[in-house]
Symmetry: C2
């Protein structure tokens, strides 16, 4: 992996030559943003959406980006072409950079790395995840910051519960998973997902689009535990696995998923949508 | 500064040779803790309190420390003796370390650096700070994490308000500043400071001790804006500046501070306490 080419200090470099000083605000103060996109062969998937969000996050956090959007795209394409990985992810990281007083932003630090990935599964992951809920609201949820303090801290507890992931909630309203979005299939025709206090996932957006194109009603709104209890199906949208059905949420158990489930149909539609997007690129 | 000796990967090294990989959870996920103590000549001040809090933070965040308390103390003393700085600070950082999947803690990363400081002022900083309030509650406030996302993000806004620092509040109760604690002098005999949802500062502890030793009543409790309005004086406790009087908090203005102010007396007592502690070390 260490022979991979990445991008740092405005030039390409080998991954083994890339590190950050301990006084980078990203390390010393947890001040940074990033984005992560999948690459299929030569194609960076939904790269426009990811770059849109990257620039949005950077601006929201007062982190100027020296490179233009076109330059970033060019860098990403060049990395892909040199590294020649069959399936991978690109992580674009922007942190506060070295700070003389450990507090003031002077020169943000941009690092772009490519990492090998296993392709997402061809079929819906069955029997699906068991998830648990936890009362927490991410700070600045609409920005893709590097703040995963609670997410990583909760991992031992999640495992103790025999669970695969944790869904945050606050004041009776659920929001999102640490790294993915939450969806309910309220009935065969209706898809519901939280509207507020969440990160707007790129996969979330694709799901809303394909569901809408397939004639489903898509609703973005606050979701309570009562609504989860009466839902038909529930799933997680994930950039690396697309869609993961939820078999159990706290004590709520959902009926087994089959190829006829709405969640499985959405998975298939999403897969088609992705193939068509890659073919067009 | 780059010739300074620091400690990393279980050995001493030059600061210029020390950096962290981009997949360290401290950089990639903002997952880390630290502590910071002042050093006067050869004396690490209140080092027991700082090491207590460091080990508490590490355990709270599931970050095992390879070194014993005695080994850390020995490393700190050796750095001080080699670097020979007249006045400085020691920063002990412990992050999640390199993670193959960017999520699981495998081997935490310990870095100890020494940085030159200007000694704290000899006298109370006058006319004191203007501070503004902002609705926010730090996650895991009792742990000294590297999460300063909100603190750094707020800096441009704080400056726009013509203010020097920002006091967090939530549900009508004030808590703390991003890097320091808050105190009220309710009357000549009574010192009040927030009890909950705060980091327990080492300087805060010293202030409570010296105030108590001087016969003041010290109260740790929830503080509302109404109580601030009716207080006689207000100040910030800071590890680098000891005590900073507050001249204005939002629209609340306090009477000018003089050498006869309780805040000035506390500053003097704290200074004496520190000199006595250094002399005993």
């Amino acid at each position: 992996m260490s022979h991979l080419i990445c991008y740092h200090h405005n030039r390409f470099a080998s991954l083994e030559d890339v590190s950050v000083p301990v006084n980078d605000l990203g390390y010393q103060r947890g001040y940074g943003i990033f984005d992560f996109l999948r690459v299929a062969g030569e194609t960076p998937l939904y790269v426009d959406d990811h770059l849109n969000r990257f620039f949005y996050s950077a601006e929201a956090m007062h982190l100027p980006v020296k490179q233009t959007r076109e330059e970033l795209l060019q860098i990403i394409r060049q990395m892909i072409s040199v590294n020649r990985l069959p399936y991978s992810g690109i992580r674009i990281m922007l942190s506060g950079g070295s700070s003389p007083d450990g507090y003031q932003i002077t020169a943000p630090n941009l690092v772009i790395v490519q990492v090998p990935l296993t392709p997402p599964p061809d079929q819906l992951l069955l029997p699906g995840y068991k998830v648990v809920t936890y009362a927490h609201q991410r700070q600045m949820p609409h920005v893709k910051t590097t703040d995963y303090l609670m997410a990583i801290w909760l991992q031992p507890w999640v495992k103790e519960q025999g669970a695969d992931d944790v869904l945050y909630h606050q004041n009776g309203i659920v929001s999102e998973f640490p790294r993915s979005n939450f969806f309910l299939v309220a009935d065969e025709q209706t898809l519901v997902t939280p509207a507020h206090h969440i990160l707007h996932g790129v996969t979330r957006k694709q799901i809303l689009q394909v569901a809408n194109a397939q004639g489903m009603k898509v609703i973005e709104k606050d979701i309570t535990m009562e609504e989860i209890r009466s839902a038909k199906e529930a799933f997680i949208s994930s950039s690396t696995k697309r869609v993961i059905p939820i078999r159990q949420l706290d004590e709520i158990r959902f009926a087994p998923y089959t190829a006829a489930s709405i969640t499985a149909q959405l998975f298939g539609w999403l897969q088609q949508h992705e193939l068509a997007t890659a073919a067009r690129a």
